[in-house]
Amino acid sequence: MSLKQNLHNLKEKYKGTKMAPAFNAIHTFLYLPNEVTHGGTHIKAADDLKRTMNIVIMALIPCLIFGMFNAGYQHYAAIERAQGITSEFSLLGSFLTWDNLWIGIIKVLPLVIVSYGVGLLVEFIFAVIKGHEVEEGYLVTGMLVPLIVPVDTPLWMLAVAVVFGVVIGKEVFGGTGMNILNPALTIRAFLFFAYPTWMSGDKVWVYDAVERTGTPDAISGETILGSYAQNQEVIYSTWDKFMGFIPGSVGETSTFLILLGAAFLIFTKIGSWRIILSTFIGAAVMGLIFNGVVNADIITESSKFYGLMNTVWWEHLMIGGLAFGAVYMATDPVTASQTNKGKWIYGFLIGFLSIMIRVFNPAYPEGVFLAILLMNVFAPTIDHYVVQGNVKKRRKRLKAKTA
C-alpha cells in the first residue's frame, strides 16, 4: 500500500480522538487534505493558510542565510579590529567563507531549532487540549524569532521566552487569528524586559564578545545605533549598512535582502505594500523632523540626543531593525490594521514612533519593536474609526433620503 493510502487509513483510525489534531498537522504537511466543499461555493481558490505562511518563510530565508554568514564575519572582524589588523573586504574572500558559515551553523541554527521545537510543541499541546487543528501561525513566528534576537542569546533564555510568547501572546487569546500582539515581538519584548542586561549593551551582538570581556582578547560588538547614541564615530560605510555587513540582530542587518523579501511579498500579494511603504514614510518624516531640529540649533552637540538626532533621515531607514520590522513584523495581518485606510495610518505611526523612541531612549537605542507592539494595541482602534466612516456614510445616505 502506498504512503498516501496508509496515512489515509491512519487518519480515519484517529478521527475524533485527542491525538487527531497532532496527527493531522503532520499529515496535512505532507498532503493537501481530501476534503471537499459542502454547501457554499463548490470550488475554492488554490491558496490556503499554509501556502500563505510558506511564502513569508521563503521571503525570510535569504535574511537567515545572510545572518549566518554575518555572524561569523562580525566575529572575525571584531577580533581583527581588537588586534589592530585592517584587512580589505571582499565578498567571497572575507564574507562568504566556510569559517563564517561555521559560526553561523553553531550559533544561529540552534536558535532556529529551539525556536521551532519549543514553539511548535506548545502549539501541538494547545491544539490537543482544545481539540482544534494546529494552526500555521507559528511557522512564521518560529522563523522570525531567531532573526530578531542577538546572536549570543543563550538557548535557555530563548526557550523560556518562546513559551511565554506563544502562551501569553497568542494562545490565551484563542490562537492564531485572535491575538492582539505579534507573538514574535512578544517574545522579543519578554527577552528585553526579563534579561535587560543581557539583551542590551555592546556585547551580545557579536559572537563571543561576552565571553571575552575583561580578558586581553576582548572585542567590541557595538551596533551602529549604540555608537550613534553615545555620539561616537561610526566606522561603517553607507554601502556596508545597506548590504548589512554590520553587527545587529541575526537577520535584521541587510536592508538589501529585506527589500528583496519585501518585493517578493508584495508581488505575491501576501504582504501589504500599504503598511511597508507607510512605515518607511513615517520613519523618514520623523527623521527629517529631527534633522530639522538639529539644523535649527535647538539641540546642540552637548545634548545626549544629538548623535541619533543628527543621523541623516535616510540612514535611519537602513540601520537598526526598522526595515525588518516594516517588512516582516508590521505586516502581520492579524495584529495589523485590517482596513486599507487603517493600514496607512498604522504603518505611518509605526515608522514615526520607531524613530522617536530610537532617539529619545539612548539606553537601548532601538524603538521598532516597541513601536510595533504599541501600534498592535491601537490597530483595532484605528480600524474602528475607519469603519465608523463607512457607517456614517450609510447613515448620511439614509438621512438624505428621509429629509
Binding site: 471537499v36 463548490h42 470550488i43 491558496d47 490556503d48 501556502r51 511564502i55 494552526e135 500579494k269
Partner: protein
C-alpha cells in the same frame, strides 16, 4: 449621471465546459418535484395531499405566514409522494406528470388596463409571486410592502453562466408584458441591466431604466447593481426578478397559462457536450443529463458553482435555476499540495500560484477545498473581489458574533449570500461566507423584521 455600471473589483472564474449555443428539447420527465427549501424562509402549508390530481399552475402549498402566496405545480399530474425529513419537515413534493399536460386557466390579461392591486392579486393567484424576491434578506417578497424600485439583471457574469441573450431570444413580447405588469407594483423605477456589448432582448423594452454593465463577476449579480444604482437604506425594500421568470409572468398574462418551461444550460467539464436544453422547473436531473454526463465521481450542481445546490442524479432541478453544472469531485490527497507551484487552479494571489500568467485560460477545477478551515487571518484580499461599499470581513465577523446593531450599521440590509460567493471562493481560511451571511440575515429578519 451615466447610467452605465462599470466595476473593477471582482474576479472572472473561467472554467471548462461553457454551453454550446444549441438547444435540445428534452422529453418530459415522469416525475417532477417542488422543494420548499428552494424558497428560503417559507414554511410550507400543504394544500395538495398525496394522491391529489393537480393541473399545471395549481397550488401545491402556500406560505404559512401569508396564505396568499401560492406555490404552484409545474406540471399536471398526480401528487405521488410528499417527502418529509426530520420533524416532518416537507423536503419535496413529487408529482408524476400526465402524458398530455393540462393547464389551469387564469385568463389572459392586459396589464396596461389593470391597477396595482389587480396585478398583485393576479400574480398571487397564479402562483407567480415566488418569482418576486426582496432585498433585504433575499427571500420571497412580502406582498404587503411597497418596494422603492424593482431590479432585473439580464447580465449573467457567474462562472459558466448561461448566455441570457441566447436563452431569452425572441421573448420580447412576454418580457414587455411582464414589465408592464410589475412596473405597476412600485412607485419607483424598474431597473434593467444588460451587458455592455450585447443585444439583449431586454434592451429595447419600454417602461424601464436601462443600465449597461461591464466588469468582472460579480457585475452581473443584482446585489452589485442595486448597490451601484440605488443602494438599500434601513427601512427600504427593493424587489428583484430574474429575466427568465419575467418570461413566465409574461406568458401567464398573454395566455393565461403558467408555463415553467425554460432553457437550461448544461455546463461544466463533466458534460460530454455542454449545451442548452429546455426543461420544466423541478424536472428530474437524470432526464436532463441523459447520455451526456460523465457521472464518475462527479459533483452535480443545480445552479452555478458559486451559489448552486448540490444535487444527485435522481434529484430535481431547482425552482429558480437555469443552469446545471457538473464538475469533478476533488476527494483525493495531493502530495505537497500546499507548497508546490500551482498552474492548474485559480488563485487571486501570486503565492506560487500562476493563474495570473494565463488570464484567459479555462480551468478544470474540482470540489477540493484546497486546505483546511482556519480562523480569519489574511486581510485586504476580500476587498479586491468585493465591489460593494461595505467592509466584507468586518460585516462577516459582525454576522458571526451576532451583534444586531453592527450588522445593521455595517450594511447587513444591502447584502445577499451570493454577494459573498467570491470572497468565499478566494478565502484563504476557507470560511463559509455564504452560510454566515444567510444565517445572519435570518437572524436580522427575525429580530428586526
Amino acid at each position: 449621471m451615466s447610467k452605465d455600471i462599470r466595476i473593477k473589483k471582482g474576479l472572472d472564474i473561467k472554467l471548462v465546459g461553457i454551453a454550446d449555443k444549441t438547444t435540445t428539447n428534452i422529453i418530459q420527465s415522469s416525475i417532477y418535484a417542488v422543494k420548499p427549501e428552494d424558497f428560503h424562509g417559507i414554511i410550507p402549508k400543504l394544500t395538495a395531499k398525496e394522491g391529489a390530481e393537480v393541473n399545471a399552475g395549481e397550488a401545491l402549498f402556500h406560505s404559512k405566514s401569508d396564505e396568499r402566496i401560492l406555490f404552484p405545480s409545474p406540471v399536471s399530474g398526480k401528487v405521488v409522494e410528499v417527502v418529509r425529513g426530520a420533524r416532518r419537515k416537507v423536503l419535496a413534493i413529487k408529482i408524476s406528470a400526465d402524458a398530455t399536460q393540462t393547464f389551469k386557466d387564469f385568463g389572459a390579461k392586459d396589464a396596461n388596463k389593470m391597477v396595482a392591486d389587480e396585478v398583485k392579486n393576479h400574480l398571487l393567484a397564479a402562483g407567480c409571486w415566488p418569482f418576486i424576491k426582496q432585498r433585504p434578506y433575499d427571500v420571497v417578497a412580502n406582498p404587503n410592502q411597497a418596494p422603492k424600485a424593482i431590479f432585473v439583471s439580464a447580465y449573467a457574469s457567474a462562472p459558466l453562466a448561461p448566455d441570457l441573450d441566447y436563452t431569452l431570444a425572441g421573448k420580447e413580447t412576454q418580457l414587455q408584458a411582464a414589465i408592464d405588469a410589475v412596473s405597476k407594483l412600485t412607485e419607483g423605477k424598474v431597473h434593467v441591466s444588460v451587458g455592455a456589448n450585447t443585444n439583449s432582448p431586454l434592451s429595447n423594452l419600454k417602461g424601464i431604466e436601462l443600465h449597461k454593465v461591464s466588469g468582472p463577476h460579480p457585475s452581473g449579480n443584482v446585489g452589485t447593481q442595486i448597490a451601484k444604482i440605488d443602494p438599500i437604506n434601513k427601512g427600504e425594500v427593493v424587489w428583484v426578478i430574474t429575466p427568465q421568470d419575467l418570461v413566465v409572468i409574461g406568458e401567464l398574462l398573454l395566455t393565461g397559462k403558467l408555463n415553467l418551461t425554460r432553457t437550461i444550460a448544461l455546463t461544466g467539464s463533466q458534460f460530454k457536450n455542454p449545451q442548452y436544453v429546455t426543461a420544466i422547473a423541478g424536472a428530474t436531473i437524470a432526464d436532463l443529463t441523459k447520455e451526456n454526463l460523465d457521472n464518475n465521481n462527479t459533483r452535480i450542481i443545480s445552479g452555478n458553482v458559486l451559489s448552486g445546490k448540490e444535487v444527485k442524479e435522481d434529484g430535481f432541478l431547482g425552482y429558480y435555476d437555469n443552469q446545471i453544472t457538473a464538475i469533478p469531485e476533488g476527494d483525493d490527497y495531493e502530495f505537497f499540495g500546499w507548497n508546490k507551484p500551482i498552474f492548474n487552479k485559480i488563485s487571486a494571489s501570486r503565492a506560487l500560484t500562476f493563474s495570473w500568467l494565463t488570464p484567459n485560460k479555462k480551468f478544470d477545477l474540482n470540489t477540493n477545498t484546497n486546505g483546511e478551515h482556519r480562523a480569519f487571518v489574511v486581510t485586504g484580499a476580500y476587498e479586491q473581489v468585493f465591489p460593494l461599499d461595505i467592509y466584507p470581513m468586518q460585516l462577516l465577523k459582525a454576522f458571526m458574533y451576532k451583534d444586531l446593531d453592527e450588522m445593521e450599521a455595517l450594511g447587513g440590509y444591502e447584502v445577499a449570500p451570493e454577494d459573498f460567493a467570491l470572497t468565499e471562493f478566494i478565502c484563504v481560511s476557507k470560511q463559509p461566507h455564504q452560510k454566515i451571511i444567510r444565517e445572519g440575515l435570518d437572524l436580522m429578519r427575525e429580530e428586526l423584521g
